[in-house]
Symmetry: C2
Amino acid sequence: MNPIEELRYLILAAQREGSRTFTELLKPLGLTTSQSEVLRVLYDHEPLSLIEVGQLLVCETGSPSRLVGRMVEAGLIEQRQSPVDSRKVQLSLTEKGRDSAIKIKDIENHFYGTLTPILEGRPVKDLIELLWIQVKGKPTGKALALRKAKQGESSNA
Amino acid sequence: MNPIEELRYLILAAQREGSRTFTELLKPLGLTTSQSEVLRVLYDHEPLSLIEVGQLLVCETGSPSRLVGRMVEAGLIEQRQSPVDSRKVQLSLTEKGRDSAIKIKDIENHFYGTLTPILEGRPVKDLIELLWIQVKGKPTGKALALRKAKQGESSNA
DNA sequence: CTAAAATCAATGACATATCATTGATTACAC
DNA sequence: GTGTAATCAATGATATGTCATTGATTTTAG
């Protein structure tokens, strides 16, 4: 098999299997992986408008109306109209949302911990660099770059 | 940002961006990336039952009833009952399906060709090796391993 | 042989993902 | 200031993905 083809399918496979594992870890919280990403983004950068959340998400490009809508219904996110621009909404975490975000952090750290020994001695830096080439300048790459850049600024990040 | 967390999001991002690019390339054929994977699997290994197709797919675990169902409706796949086991269906490509599969091969090769210079000199082998560790023994890893193993056997692969 | 277990495909239920359109609101060109 | 363009959120439409259940069929244990 062509190595690039193999790489293509392996990236899909790794994404799916990682997602399956993480989904399992999130089950006690009753949250999906996408929902957990939204909670983490809001925890670090709230308040945000819908479009700003979208610009920070890797899991979904465009405006995550329905994803956020379900989380508002679930009492995780508070949504009000922006005082300065009535086109925008102001999204922030509820108490429940903040609690969940903190628990997600723990779960993530546990998840990363299980992966650490496997990655030991591997050229992780090179791999990160290689993947960055594929996403740089594209929506998901911009989202991730924005999150990395914002990390220093925020009080919660 | 934790390198493992960065890697996690980069894999998701690379998968999404690659999929977006490939989707664009498939647009002239009116096919989705999942549909193209089914066509390629059937082209190489037909006839297959629904569950056998599922075991060879990375894009979807379990039995891809609805994915295949839409392709039968679209005239890409022929579906009949298995003569030996009436629980099973026999899936094979129609003329249209076979034509599409051949065109997909060309598009894939073009796609891989555009990636070749970018990956030149990069630790692609290391990345492939690392990703294999993540998926080995899991459904998508088994699917990919099966496809690699079957490559020598089949007349079409 | 026959009852229980296993297999297979279809389908219900739910949550994404993606693209396009719509309607309200704001920014901007002049 | 006003008409036009741009922005924002919501929603329709379509196709995935995932898990669970169901009903038909086959296998298997005895």
